[in-house]
Symmetry: none
């Protein structure tokens, strides 16, 4: 699905931002980059440095003269916009964008473009009005202008999440077996005997001590192996108390 | 709420990444930056250029020698981690991190640290084991290493979303104060001394024992009062071991 999402940068001024965009895209599994009328040489030492290994995306990028040529084959075009304009447009959040992607890309013809404007002035009204919707990344109102590559990073991250949750995530490591209720009860009984032996706990004056230790322990959902360690500590502690008694 | 989230950068090598981090933070409304043993001059022309007006955050940043000093007052410490380690730790997604924040920061004592490692090698195992949980940003397995400022951007974005969508939930009972990172570290040091005293732990043969006990304890998120009980038990246990030695 991710291969049918295109990042479109319009009128970019700084090669470093193109490199940073390529890195953010590759990190999130996006590959399709289009540059519209860049205002700088796209491939410089700055590009390669910021791309940090992802500069193949810049090599493979299509460079075109205008937005039309970059998004002609797309079924959904979404423009990144810092502020609402005079003419209100359908405005979605990055998360809502993600939520729309699976349906949008379910057919093989589906192709989505995310369009980012100039570092200094964003997208023009004409460009914004060529988009199906605008996406606004929520920012601090006092300091709202995101770095271009950072904005790409946030939207690419939402794209990746949306596409990942669609596929079964079998990468989860096998969880260690948790202690059973019975094992936990054996542990608590052992703990109580041990605390009595070292003179820390007096059943005649319970003061909710055992309840507090239960709550703490149960909250952690102990694994069987962890409970074995804790019981080992109790046994070692009891040994100290016993020796003392014998002498 | 956002003012009680601290971004901690450990051993950063590139001033540009500190500037990029400051910009990402300020864009998302975060203000609290701590630098742990930076491997570069934090404030250079590169910093100011990438910060793009947010360099006050770097001016105001606290620079300290080690992780302890950066997160001592925090109730939740989350380390950004690219991969799962030999000893699996509670692992959350950026979104799950966001979901935890409102409850976490509902009390005035709540303070959260998000810890980011070195550009080349991330966080050490020791540093990772000082965290309650690890957060992993889902990435392309073939190109998984995010730029430092980009990683901060994604987590700061989730923080902002979580704090924006937070509806005042006054029905929650006032939670008992959680132990701070510093109190927890004192407890672990005490636990280690005690386990050595009773002959259960040999630092020459660590076998991940302390790491396992850390993981178990941190998972439970101990309240201050619970930690006091646990330390009382340690003291009573040590007394047994000491008496035995004296006789």
């Amino acid at each position: 699905m991710l291969e049918r999402i295109r990042i479109v940068l319009i009128g970019t001024s700084h090669p470093g931002n193109i490199g940073g965009t390529a890195r953010a895209m590759h990190n999130m599994g996006l590959t399709d980059l289009a540059l519209v009328a860049p205002r700088c040489e796209p491939l410089t030492a700055d590009t390669v440095s910021r791309a940090s290994g992802a500069d193949t995306l810049v090599h493979n990028a299509r460079t075109v003269d205008n937005l039309e040529d970059a998004v002609g084959d797309c079924t959904l075009v979404v423009g990144a916009s810092a502020r609402s304009r005079t003419l209100p447009w359908p405005m979605i959040t990055p998360r809502e964008l993600g939520e729309r992607l699976p349906a949008e890309l379910s057919s093989m013809q589906g192709r989505v473009a995310l369009v980012f404007g100039r570092e200094d002035s964003g997208l023009t009204n004409t460009e914004l009005q060529r988009c199906h919707a605008h996406v606004h990344i929520p920012t601090n109102p006092d300091f709202s202008s995101l770095n271009l590559a950072a904005a790409v990073q946030v939207l690419a991250y939402e794209c990746r999440l949306a596409c990942l949750t669609e596929t079964t995530d079998s990468a989860e490591p096998e969880a260690a077996p948790l202690a059973t209720h019975e094992e936990l009860e054996h542990y608590f009984a052992h703990l109580e005997r041990c605390l009595i032996a070292i003179g820390f706990y007096d059943p005649a004056m319970p003061r909710q001590l055992m309840a507090r230790l239960r709550r703490f322990t149960l909250r952690a959902r102990p694994e069987r192996m962890e409970l074995n360690i804790l019981r080992g500590i109790l046994t070692a502690t009891q040994r100290q108390a016993e020796r003392h008694k014998d002498e």
